[in-house]
C-alpha cells in the first residue's frame, strides 16, 4: 500500500474545533474583548462529541468553539471598533495626564461608537426568530429598568430599558396578547402570545435591590446592550403590525382627558411623557384611526385532512380565546395604594377592564374612589373600614387566578382578610401519572362547567356530621368491646386449665380450605415471565430499560409523597376544626 502516512488529528473533528485561547489569539483580542464579542454575536462554546479526539488525545478540561464561528468573527466590523476604542482610551488618558483639556474635549466628541443593528439582523434572520429569543431580553430589560439611577450602570441604559419595557407592555395591552400570569416568590411571571410565539418574562417585585458583590455587572451590561437593540427593533415592528405609532403616542382623546386631572403642577410635558405612558391607563394613537367595522371576520378555510371534529375543536378553542381576551370587559377596577399598581393595571387593561387609582399615587388616574360605577376594588389590607355598596372588595390574587382560570372566579374566597386559596402555577400541565393538587382538579371541573364546590362542601359537612356520630358510636363500642374482651380472657384461662390437665403434645387441627386467587396467580406468572424476559435483554438495552424504569418509579414516588403530605395536612386541619368546634360547643 502506497501513499503518505496519515497523521493523527489533522482531519475530522480535531480540525473543526478551536480552543478558547487559540481563538483569542487568532482574533488578536484581549479576553474581556473576546467575551464581549461572543456575547454580542451570540457565539457560544460547543461540547464536541468525542472530546479526546478534539483535544488531540489529552483529557484536560478545555472549552471549544467551532472554528467556523471564530472565522465568522474575523470579519466582524465591531472588532475594529474595539481596537479603536482601546486607542481612544489611551489618547484620552494621555491628554488627561498632560492636562490638555481642549484635546480631551475633542477626543470625547469623537469617541468611537458602534451599532448593533447588523448583528441583530444576522442573529435573527426572520422576525419570528427574534420573537422566539425574546424571553431573556425582556427579563433583563425589566430588571435593568428597576435599577437605581446611581452607580452600577449608565443612566442612559436604565432609561432606555425602562422606555422599551413600557413600550412593550403597551403593545401587549393594545394587542391583548397576555395569556398567563403567576405570582411567584421570585417575582411576577407573565406569558404572552405574540404572533403565535409564547413569550415569557419575569419582573422583580418593586423593592430596592440589594446589589450582590459577586456579580459581574459588565457582563450583564453587555447583554443588555444587545437586548435593548433587539427589543427596540422588535417593538418597532410590533407597533407597526398593529398600525400604532412608534415611538408611541398617547391617543389624543385620552390625552385631553388626562390633562385637567394632572394640571401644570406635575412636570414638564417632555418629562411626564414616559410616565404617562408607563401609567398604562391610556390607549395609544394609531396611524390610521381604527373603525370598528375594520375588524373583518376571518374566512375559514378547511385544512385538508382535517376531520369535522378537529375543526370544531379548533373553532371552540378560537372562541374560548376570544372570550378570554374580553375577560374583564365592562368591569371597572380601582386599585388601593397598597397593591402593586403597575402589574395589576397592566393585567386588567390586557383583558379589557378599566382601571384607576388614587390621583396622588401616580399620574394617569382616570376616576376617583368615590365613582359609583366601580365594580371591583382591589384591596390588600386585613379589613376595609368604609365599604361602598355595589362593589366587590377583593384581594389582588383574584385578578391573577381569574386570568389563569380564563373565567371570573367566584369572589367569596378572595374577600379581604380571608385565608386565600392556594395560588397555582398556570405553566404546569399535568401528564398522566403526575400529582395534581385538589385545587387544580376543582378548577378544571369549574372550567368544564360543573360546580363541584357546593357538592364538596355539602359532602364535607355531611362527613363531619357522620364522623361526629361515629365518634359517639365508637366510644360506646369501645366500652362494649372491653367487656367482651374480659369475657374472652376468662374463657381462655379456663380452657388453658383444662388443657393442662389433659397435657397431650400432639393435636389434630382441622385443615383450612386454601382459596387460590386466580387473578393473583396469573399476575404473578406474568411478572415472572417479564422478569425472565428482562434477563435475556442485551446489556445496553437492559441499562436503558433500568434507567427508564428508575425514572418512572421516582416520578410515582414523588407523586405519592405529595399526595400523602396533602392527606396528612388535610386531616390535621380537619382535626383542628373539630377541636375548635368542640371548644365552641363547650
Amino acid at each position: 500500500m502506497g501513499g503518505l502516512e496519515k497523521k493523527k488529528y489533522e482531519r475530522g473533528s480535531a480540525t473543526n474545533y478551536i480552543t478558547r485561547n487559540r481563538a483569542r489569539k487568532k482574533l488578536q483580542l484581549s479576553l474581556p474583548d473576546f467575551r464581549r464579542l461572543c456575547i454580542l454575536k451570540g457565539i457560544y462554546p460547543h461540547e464536541p462529541k468525542h472530546k479526546k479526539k478534539v483535544n488531540k488525545g489529552s483529557t484536560a478540561a478545555r472549552t471549544f468553539y467551532l472554528l467556523k464561528d471564530i472565522k465568522f468573527l474575523l470579519h466582524e466590523p465591531i472588532v475594529n471598533k474595539f481596537r479603536e476604542y482601546k486607542v481612544f482610551v489611551r489618547k484620552l488618558r494621555k491628554a488627561y495626564g498632560k492636562s490638555e483639556w481642549s484635546t480631551v474635549d475633542r477626543l470625547k466628541d469623537n469617541k468611537p461608537s458602534y451599532k448593533l443593528d447588523h448583528i441583530v439582523k444576522e442573529r435573527y434572520p426572520t422576525f419570528v426568530d427574534a420573537l422566539r429569543d425574546l424571553d431573556d431580553a425582556l427579563s433583563m430589560c425589566f430588571l435593568f429598568s428597576t435599577f437605581p439611577r446611581t452607580g452600577k450602570c449608565h443612566v442612559q441604559t436604565i432609561q432606555l430599558c425602562r422606555r422599551l419595557a413600557v413600550e412593550f407592555l403597551n403593545y401587549i395591552i393594545a394587542s391583548r396578547s397576555l395569556r398567563k400570569v403567576f405570582l411567584s416568590i421570585k417575582g411576577i411571571y407573565y406569558q404572552a402570545e405574540v404572533l403565535g410565539q409564547p413569550v415569557t418574562w419575569i419582573t422583580p417585585y418593586t423593592f430596592a435591590h440589594d446589589h450582590p458583590t459577586d456579580v459581574d455587572y459588565r457582563v450583564m451590561a453587555t447583554f443588555t446592550e444587545f437586548y435593548t437593540t433587539l427589543l427596540g427593533f422588535v417593538n418597532f415592528r410590533l407597533y407597526h403590525s398593529l398600525n400604532l405609532l412608534y415611538p408611541p403616542k398617547i391617543d389624543g382623546q385620552a390625552d385631553v382627558e388626562l390633562k385637567p386631572a394632572e394640571g401644570k403642577e406635575y412636570a414638564m410635558d417632555s418629562e411626564s411623557y414616559l410616565e404617562k405612558l408607563s401609567a398604562l391607563s391610556a390607549s395609544l394613537a394609531r396611524v390610521v384611526a381604527p373603525t370598528h367595522e375594520d375588524e373583518v371576520e376571518m374566512d375559514e378555510f378547511p385544512v385538508e385532512g382535517e376531520t369535522a371534529e378537529q375543526m370544531d375543536a379548533r373553532k371552540k378553542e378560537q372562541e374560548a380565546l376570544e372570550k378570554h381576551k374580553k375577560l374583564f370587559e365592562g368591569l371597572r377596577f380601582f386599585l388601593n395604594r397598597e397593591v402593586p399598581r403597575e402589574p395589576l393595571a397592566f393585567i386588567i387593561r390586557c383583558f379589557g377592564g378599566q382601571v384607576s387609582w388614587d390621583k396622588s399615587l401616580c399620574i394617569g388616574a382616570t376616576y376617583d374612589v368615590s365613582d359609583p360605577s366601580i365594580t371591583h376594588q382591589i384591596v390588600d389590607r386585613p379589613r376595609v373600614e368604609q365599604q361602598v355598596v355595589g362593589r366587590y372588595y377583593l384581594q389582588p390574587q383574584w385578578v391573577f387566578d381569574s386570568v389563569n382560570a380564563k373565567l371570573c372566579l367566584p369572589v367569596v374566597d378572595y374577600f379581604p382578610g380571608v385565608l386565600l386559596p392556594p395560588h397555582l402555577s398556570p405553566f404546569v400541565t399535568e401528564q398522566e401519572g403526575d400529582y395534581v393538587p385538589p385545587e387544580k382538579l376543582k378548577l378544571l371541573a369549574m372550567q368544564r362547567g360543573e360546580n363541584p364546590d357546593e357538592e364538596s362542601e355539602e359532602e364535607e359537612e355531611e362527613e363531619e356530621e357522620e364522623e361526629d356520630e361515629n365518634d359517639k358510636e365508637e366510644e360506646e363500642e369501645e366500652e362494649d368491646e372491653s367487656e367482651k374482651e374480659e369475657e374472652m380472657k376468662l374463657k381462655k384461662m379456663e380452657e388453658q386449665k383444662t388443657q393442662s390437665n389433659k397435657a397431650l403434645p400432639v393435636k389434630v387441627t382441622a385443615g383450612k380450605l386454601r382459596l387460590e386467587d386466580k387473578q393473583r396467580l396469573e399476575q404473578e406468572q406474568q411478572s415472572e415471565e417479564k422478569r425472565l424476559a428482562i434477563m435475556m435483554m442485551k446489556k445496553r438495552e437492559k441499562y436503558l430499560y433500568k434507567k427508564i424504569m428508575f425514572g418512572k418509579k421516582r416520578k410515582v414516588r414523588e407523586a405519592n409523597k405529595l399526595a400523602a403530605k396533602r392527606k396528612a395536612h388535610d386531616t390535621a386541619v380537619k382535626e383542628e376544626k373539630k377541636k375548635s368546634k368542640k371548644a365552641r360547643r363547650a
Binding site: G187, P396, K565
Partner: protein
C-alpha cells in the same frame, strides 16, 4: 579593632597615591615609596613578594610579616596604639593614624563635612528682590515685532476663515445618543442563514415555574423540617429546587427575592459560557425493549417446583451423579462420605465413608455396568454400589475380576490397586492412585474409558484411563494452563479441555487440536455438552454463561448474565431441550435451549424458571446441578448439606 577590620577607609585618595594627610610619618625612612601601580585591585599582587613599583621602576617589596595569630593577639593586647594602626594597602606598611586623622574619620562616620571650618548654613542672598528698584536691570528697548500683528498668525487665521467660507470646516454637531429604530426585518429572507451554520444550537429556554414557586402554594409543596435541613445540607448545584418554597398569607407580605440578580446573571453566564451540545432524547416505550420470547408455558415440560429434599450430609455437597436408569443418585460431600440415594423416595440407601473430601463423583453411563468413579484426595475409587438388579452388579464384578494382567509390565503415570478385603466389602473395587490430588473425573459414553483431572501445573494434569485393561495414559505432552474440567464428546472421538479462559477441543483419533473456543470469561468453572454434540455451555466464576455453537464460531453464540454471583455448575438434559445453571447466589436457573436440526436456524435460548430453595452458607449457594436422565427433573446440591429435586 574597627580599623583592623576595615582598613580601606584611608584609601579614599588612592589615585593620588598618598594624600597629604597620609604622608608617611616622620619616623618612617625618608625615601619615596609611592606606588605607581595605580587604582587596581591589590589582590593581583597577592602571590608576589612585591606589591608594586616605585617612581624609579624598582619593586616595592612587601614588609616582612611573619606574625601568626598569637602574635597578632599579643600585639592587640599590648600595643596601646593598636586601634589606630591601619595597613596601607598600596605599600603594605602599618600606619599609625594621627589624632587629626582619627577626628576626620569620626566626623565622616557621623555624616559631617570633612572640613571643620565649612559652614553649610550660611545666610542666602537673593539676586532678584521683590522690592521695586528705581533702575531697570537691563535697559534694552522693546522689539518692533512685539507691537505689530504677527504675519504668520494672520496667515493661519485667513486660512481658517477661507476654510469656513468654503464650508470645509463645520461647527461640531452635538451627538444624539438616542438610538433610532426602523423596520429591520422589512426584507427578511427566511432562507438566509447569514454566516451561521447548521451546527447552531439555540439556547434552551428557562424552565417555567411550578406550583412550588408560588407565593401561596398548596400546603403539600412546602418543605417539612427534615426536608428543609436536607436542602440546606445539599450542595447548591445538587439541589432540585434553588429556593425554599414559602407561603405568605397575602401579596402584601411577599418580600423581594434576594437572588433575583444572581439568577439573571447565572442565566447570562449560561448563555455565553456554557458549552452546548445537541442531545437526542431516547423516546422509547420500555416495554418495547423487552425481547419478545415464547412464553415459558409453551415450552413445558421443565422443572417448576421443589419436590424432594435429600437430607443426610453434614457438610457441603460438592458433587452429584445419577445412574443411567435414573433410579439411584450418588452424592459426594465435604463430610468425607459418599451417599447413595433412591431418587423417588429420597431415602439414603448406603453411606460410604471414604476418608477424604469428595471432589467429584461420576456414575458409569453404560447401563450394563454398575460402577461409580469417586475422586478422593489423590485417588480415584471405582465403586460398585451393589444397588438395583443383582444380575447387573454381579456382572460388573465379574467383568472387573476377569482382568488378566499383561505379561510385560508397562510404565504408567498412575498405580492401579485392587481393593483390600475390607474395602471390597464396602463396595470399592479398584483404586487408581495418582501422584497429586484429583479434581474431577468423567466417563466416556461407552463406559470403559474415564478421564481424571489432577490439580497440577505440569503436562500430567489430564489422564485417560481404561478400566477393562487397567491402563492409563497421559494424552498431552505440554501443559496449556490450569485445566478446570474435561469432557468427552457423547458421540464422536472428541475431547474437551477447559482451561481458565479457553476450551480446547482435541480429536482423540488424530491426536490433534481441532478447535480453541474463546469463552470471553475470566475463569471457567464448569462445562457441559449438548447431547447432540454441537453445542457447549460454559459457566464461569464471573457469573456468565457462554453458549457455543461449535459449527458457528469459536466465540460464544450468546453470553448470558442471568446469575448475580459466580456459576458453579451447568448441565444439559439428555432428551429435553433444557439446560440449568447453579450459582453462588443460591438459585438454579433452568433455560430452554432448543437446537434445531436446520443448520441455518440459530439455537433458541429462553430462561423458563428460577428455582430457589438452597440456603446460603459460607457465601455459597448451589454447588452442583444435574438433570434426571429421562424425566424433566433437576437435582441441585447445595452448601447447606442438602440435595433438592425439582420437578
Amino acid at each position: 579593632s574597627f580599623f583592623t577590620t576595615s582598613p580601606r577607609h584611608p584609601g579614599v585618595h588612592l589615585l593620588e597615591t598618598v594624600s597629604p594627610a597620609l604622608t608617611p610619618l616622620p619616623s618612617a625612612p625618608l625615601q619615596d615609596i609611592r606606588n605607581t601601580v595605580g587604582n587596581i585591585p591589590m589582590e593581583w599582587y597577592q602571590d608576589f613578594p612585591h606589591i608594586g613599583y616605585n617612581l624609579e621602576g624598582k619593586k616595592i617589596y612587601k614588609p616582612i610579616r611573619n606574625k601568626d595569630e598569637l602574635d597578632m593577639f599579643l600585639e592587640k593586647m599590648e600595643n596601646p596604639d593598636y586601634w589606630r594602626t591601619v595597613q596601607d594597602k598600596m605599600t603594605g606598611a602599618d600606619i599609625k593614624l594621627t589624632d587629626e586623622q582619627v577626628d576626620l574619620v569620626h566626623r565622616l562616620q557621623k555624616g559631617q563635612f570633612g572640613d571643620v571650618h565649612f559652614n553649610p548654613y550660611e545666610p542666602a542672598v537673593d539676586f532678584f528682590t521683590h522690592e521695586v528698584m528705581i533702575h531697570p536691570v537691563t535697559n534694552r528697548p522693546a522689539d518692533k515685532r512685539s507691537f505689530i500683528p504677527s504675519l504668520i498668525e494672520k496667515e493661519k487665521v485667513s486660512k481658517l476663515v477661507h476654510a469656513i467660507k468654503m464650508g470645509w470646516i463645520k461647527p461640531r454637531k452635538p451627538k444624539d445618543d438616542t438610538p433610532t429604530y426602523y423596520d429591520l426585518w422589512a426584507h427578511e429572507d427566511p432562507n438566509s442563514i447569514l454566516g451561521r451554520h447548521k451546527m447552531h444550537v439555540p439556547a434552551p429556554k428557562m424552565k417555567l415555574p411550578g406550583h412550588e414557586e408560588s407565593y401561596n402554594p398548596p400546603p403539600e409543596y412546602l418543605l417539612s423540617e427534615e426536608e428543609k435541613l436536607a436542602w440546606e445540607q445539599q450542595e447548591p448545584a445538587e439541589r432540585k429546587l434553588n429556593f425554599v418554597p414559602q407561603q405568605y398569607r397575602c401579596l402584601r407580605a411577599v418580600p423581594a427575592y434576594s437572588r433575583f440578580i444572581h439568577e439573571r446573571f447565572e442565566r447570562c453566564l449560561d448563555l455565553y459560557l456554557c458549552p452546548r451540545q445537541r442531545k437526542m432524547r431516547v423516546n422509547v416505550d420500555p416495554e418495547d425493549l423487552i425481547p419478545k420470547l415464547p412464553k415459558p408455558r409453551d415450552l413445558q415440560p421443565f422443572p417448576t417446583t421443589q419436590a424432594l429434599v435429600y437430607r443426610g450430609h453434614t457438610s457441603l455437597v460438592r458433587c452429584l451423579s445419577i445412574s443411567p436408569s435414573g433410579q439411584w443418585l450418588v452424592s459426594g460431600s465435604d463430610d468425607c462420605t459418599v451417599r447413595f440415594w433412591e431418587v423417588c423416595t429420597a431415602r439414603c440407601m448406603k453411606t460410604l465413608p471414604v476418608g477424604g473430601v469428595v471432589k467429584s463423583v461420576a456414575w458409569n453411563p453404560n447401563p450394563t455396568i454398575c460402577l461409580v468413579a469417586i475422586c478422593v484426595d489423590q485417588s480415584v475409587l471405582l465403586v460398585n454400589p451393589c444397588l438395583g438388579d443383582k444380575l447387573l452388579y454381579g456382572a460388573t464384578d465379574q467383568l472387573l475380576e476377569s482382568y488378566v494382567a499383561p505379561e510385560e509390565e508397562r510404565v504408567q503415570p498412575v498405580q492401579w490397586v485392587t481393593a483390600t478385603m475390607e474395602e471390597h466389602s464396602k463396595g470399592v473395587r479398584l483404586v487408581v492412585q495418582h501422584s497429586k490430588a484429583v479434581k474431577q473425573v468423567t466417563w466416556h459414553g461407552k463406559g470403559d474409558y474415564f478421564a481424571s483431572v489432577v490439580s497440577d501445573n505440569s503436562n500430567m494434569q489430564v489422564l485417560i484411563h481404561q478400566t477393562s485393561k487397567r491402563w492409563s495414559q497421559n494424552p498431552f505432552r505440554k501443559s496449556k494452563g490450569l485445566v478446570q474440567c474435561v469432557l468427552f464428546h457423547p458421540i464422536r472421538p472428541y475431547f474437551f479441555v477447559a482451561t481458565q479462559r479457553y476450551v480446547r477441543v482435541y480429536n482423540l483419533l488424530k491426536q490433534e487440536l481441532t478447535k480453541k473456543l474463546m469463552t470471553n470469561c475470566k475463569w471457567v468453572s464448569s462445562m457441559a455438552i449438548h447431547p447432540g454434540g454441537d453445542n457447549i455451555i460454559c459457566g464461569s466464576y464471573d457469573s456468565k454463561l457462554a453458549w457455543f455453537d461449535l459449527d458457528l464460531s469459536t466465540r460464544p453464540y450468546q453470553l448470558l448474565r442471568h446469575h448475580k454471583k459466580a456459576l458453579r455448575s451447568v448441565a444439559f438434559h439428555k432428551h429435553y431441550p433444557l439446560f440449568a445453571s447453579g450459582s453462588d447466589d443460591g438459585t438454579v436457573i433452568v433455560c430452554h435451549g432448543m437446537v434445531y436440526n436446520d443448520l441455518l436456524q440459530n439455537p433458541l435460548l429462553v430462561p423458563v424458571k428460577v428455582l430457589k430453595g438452597h440456603a446460603m452458607t459460607l457465601d455459597l449457594g448451589v454447588l452442583d446441578v444435574l438433570f434426571h436422565p429421562t424425566q424433566p427433573w433437576v437435582f441441585s446440591s447445595g452448601a447447606d448439606g442438602t440435595i433438592r429435586l425439582y420437578t
